[in-house]
């Protein structure tokens, strides 16, 4: 209980007559990275805006570092650093001026701390340039720098990898992991890309149509995916392999890039034996985890489709 950094209790948001999100209950602990995953329009940004005080909580409670966002707004905000949607900073100022401005808002953020944060996000070379000259990746990094200034307990990032190139995404991932491990920072990060979350997060909450469907550790999610692994086979006679495996009850699909088979982990040796017995030469067998993870995600977020 002592190291619960973010706690939401049946949070609900109604705009007009429409319920945008409801019944969001979460608890995040010190030093963990929590992924908030959902398709477009699921309600991620809406939930985040309530956490950081940008929009009013219709029902329920949110605590940040033990302070209620509604009752002790200032207390809660002292514990939060955030970027919501885009890292919009004052374009007509330099990066450093932006940071100095935000630093003033918290007591005890020294000039050294500002330098330190700039170093953490690796922006020393451009910190004196006007923000309007920054690339998106640089703006993201400056955004993270301003969020870290006052050493908050909780860092809230809304789709921080949006628009970053693969190298940028990797850097961001390493930076966040590093911060969480070394400083005990808790990170709440939203995204609609599962593979990204899988590599970065400890736990993932999946939200769809305004409801929290499940909260799982990344290990559990991968486990779910591995129950049925998608295999991609390359043989000397793909169509023969296809008919053999179909006969034995595997679900296969013959595609241009090979024979795709969905198989449980335990039945993979059986599959290999059957192919050998049938006289098919096996050249290669690839497992694509991420693809099947996406399947799990799709299955969780689109229960209606699965029923058909």
């Amino acid at each position: 209980m002592a190291d619960s950094v973010l706690k939401t209790e049946s949070v609900k948001k109604v705009i007009g007559k429409r319920t945008i999100v409801s019944d969001i209950s979460l608890e995040l602990y010190r030093g963990e990275i929590f992924g908030f995953l959902g398709p477009n329009g699921a309600g991620k940004t809406t939930t985040i805006k309530m956490i950081v005080g940008l929009s009013k909580i219709t029902e329920g409670r949110i605590y940040v570092g033990g302070c209620s966002v509604r009752e002790d707004f200032k207390g809660a905000m002292k514990n939060i650093g955030c970027i919501v949607e885009n890292p919009d900073l004052y374009k007509y100022m330099s990066g450093l001026d932006n940071l100095r401005l935000f630093a003033k808002m918290y007591p005890g953020v020294s000039e050294e701390r500002i330098r330190e944060v700039v170093k953490i996000v690796d922006l020393e070379h451009a910190i004196n340039d006007k923000v309007k000259t920054y690339s998106l990746g640089m703006k993201q990094r400056l955004g993270i720098a301003q969020a870290l200034l006052h050493s908050p307990k909780l860092l809230v990032l809304d789709e921080p990898t949006n628009g970053l190139d693969p190298a940028g995404i990797k850097e961001m991932r390493e930076l966040l992991r590093d911060l969480a491990e070394k400083t005990g920072l808790t990170v709440f990060v939203s995204s609609h890309i599962l593979a990204e979350m899988q590599q970065m997060c400890d736990r993932v909450g999946i939200i769809n149509k305004g409801r929290l469907i499940t909260v799982k550790t990344v290990g559990e999610l991968v486990g779910m995916a591995e129950e049925k692994t998608a295999l991609q086979l390359e043989t000397d006679d793909n169509s023969k392999a296809n008919s053999i495996l179909r006969e034995k009850g595997f679900s296969c699909e013959l595609l241009a890039d090979g024979l795709h088979v969905a198989a449980e982990r335990e039945s993979i040796p059986v599959l290999v034996r059957e192919l050998t017995l049938g006289g098919v030469g096996l050249y290669a067998m690839d497992r694509s985890n991420s693809r099947s993870l996406e399947d799990v995600f799709m299955k969780l977020t689109e229960p209606a489709k699965e029923g058909k």
Binding site: I15, K74, G75, K78, I80, D88, L89, Y92, L101, M105
Partner: protein, 333 residues
């Protein structure tokens, strides 16, 4: 309190880092200098001897007496005549002139206006509508600081901080008004300095009559100049608050700027036109916002006074500002 002062200094540096703030500041100084130089050039061109002390005619008493009589007759005629409604709008100005004449006769004041540097400064500032110019610049600055942060998206960065929304909003309003005050003081200083350079410093301690809708007070000319600047600043506050609230409600810089400017330029005369036909229209928000003109020209609407104008407009200012606060406090960003 200390943290609120910090917030004000933050907003202040945000404002001054904007190029438009500095540009507007220099434009204002430039306008003052340009207008003054133009005046001086005109006087030079027309061979006006600006250093000569205006002579007082020996028969000024008789002249003033005659003028007062004429004014009295005119006032009576308009007050009794029921047919011409629009003529009644000059009543305020006639009454002001009459009061001045009577005061001069009673107190033996030969000059209607003293030959004073301060009188020159305040007359020129009034005819140049410096108050309206500053209001215009402030509307732009205030809309940029409130609505501009919405369109630039930076308002999100300002809200998730250990400050209440009302504190953030107050800081913005205070900083905008401070900017107005800085402009006003600068304009006064620059205007005084350039006129001192042109005309020297005649009548530094001279006294001048000031009309306060009801009676005349005889005060140092410098005090009158400051009073007029002060009244202009109150008008500036009114329109800045209007721009501020419209910014908080519409989140649109163009709507807030456009509507406030429109009201600044036309609101008062439109409302006064309406007030000629409907007596209750004098209680409209914009009817009585030209405070300094009440002193320099007299009231336009019968039955209004300077204190009343200040009170009614003051109440509206508070109501309009409160509206902005309530909407901003509740709004999802």
């Amino acid at each position: 309190m200390k943290s609120f002062l910090t917030l004000i200094s933050i907003e202040n540096s945000k404002m001054w880092k904007r190029t438009s703030t500095k540009v507007m500041f220099f434009i204002m100084i430039f306008l003052v200098l340009a207008a003054s130089c133009l005046l001086r050039y005109y006087q030079y061109y027309k061979n006006v001897d600006v250093h000569a002390t205006p002579s007082v005619s020996a028969t000024w008493k008789a002249e003033v007496q005659q003028e007062a009589q004429g004014l009295k007759a005119q006032i009576k005629q308009i007050e009794n005549g029921k047919d011409n409604e629009s003529q009644r709008s000059v009543l305020g100005s006639l009454k002001k002139s009459l009061a001045e004449d009577e005061y001069r006769l009673a107190n033996n004041i030969a000059e209607a206006k003293p030959n004073s540097i301060w009188t020159k400064v305040s007359d020129f500032s009034q005819s140049g509508s410096y108050g309206a110019l500053i209001a215009l610049l402030l509307i732009i600055a205030c809309a940029a600081s409130v609505a501009g942060e919405f369109s630039e998206g930076t308002i999100k960065m300002a809200i998730s901080r250990p400050y209440y929304r009302r504190e953030i909003l107050s800081a913005k309003l205070i900083v905008s008004l401070l900017y107005g005050l800085e402009l006003l003081v600068t304009v006064f200083v620059v205007q005084s300095a350039i006129f001192a350079a042109f005309y020297g410093l005649p009548g530094i301690g001279a006294k001048e009559m000031m009309w306060t809708t009801g009676k005349i007070v005889y005060i140092p000319a410098v005090l009158k100049a400051l009073c007029l600047y002060g009244l202009d600043f109150l008008t500036v506050i009114f329109y800045t608050v209007l721009a501020f609230t419209l910014s908080a409600i519409t989140r649109s810089r163009s709507i807030a700027t456009g509507f406030s400017l429109f009201m600044l330029l036309l609101g008062s005369s439109l409302a006064q036109m309406a007030a000629v036909f409907f007596t209750w229209a004098k209680y409209f928000p914009f009817t009585m916002t030209g405070f300094s003109s009440v002193v320099t020209k007299g009231v336009v609407l019968e039955g209004t006074t300077l204190p009343m104008a200040l009170l009614v407009s003051g109440i509206y200012t508070v109501v309009i500002a409160a509206l902005g606060y309530v909407v901003f406090q509740k709004r999802d960003i």
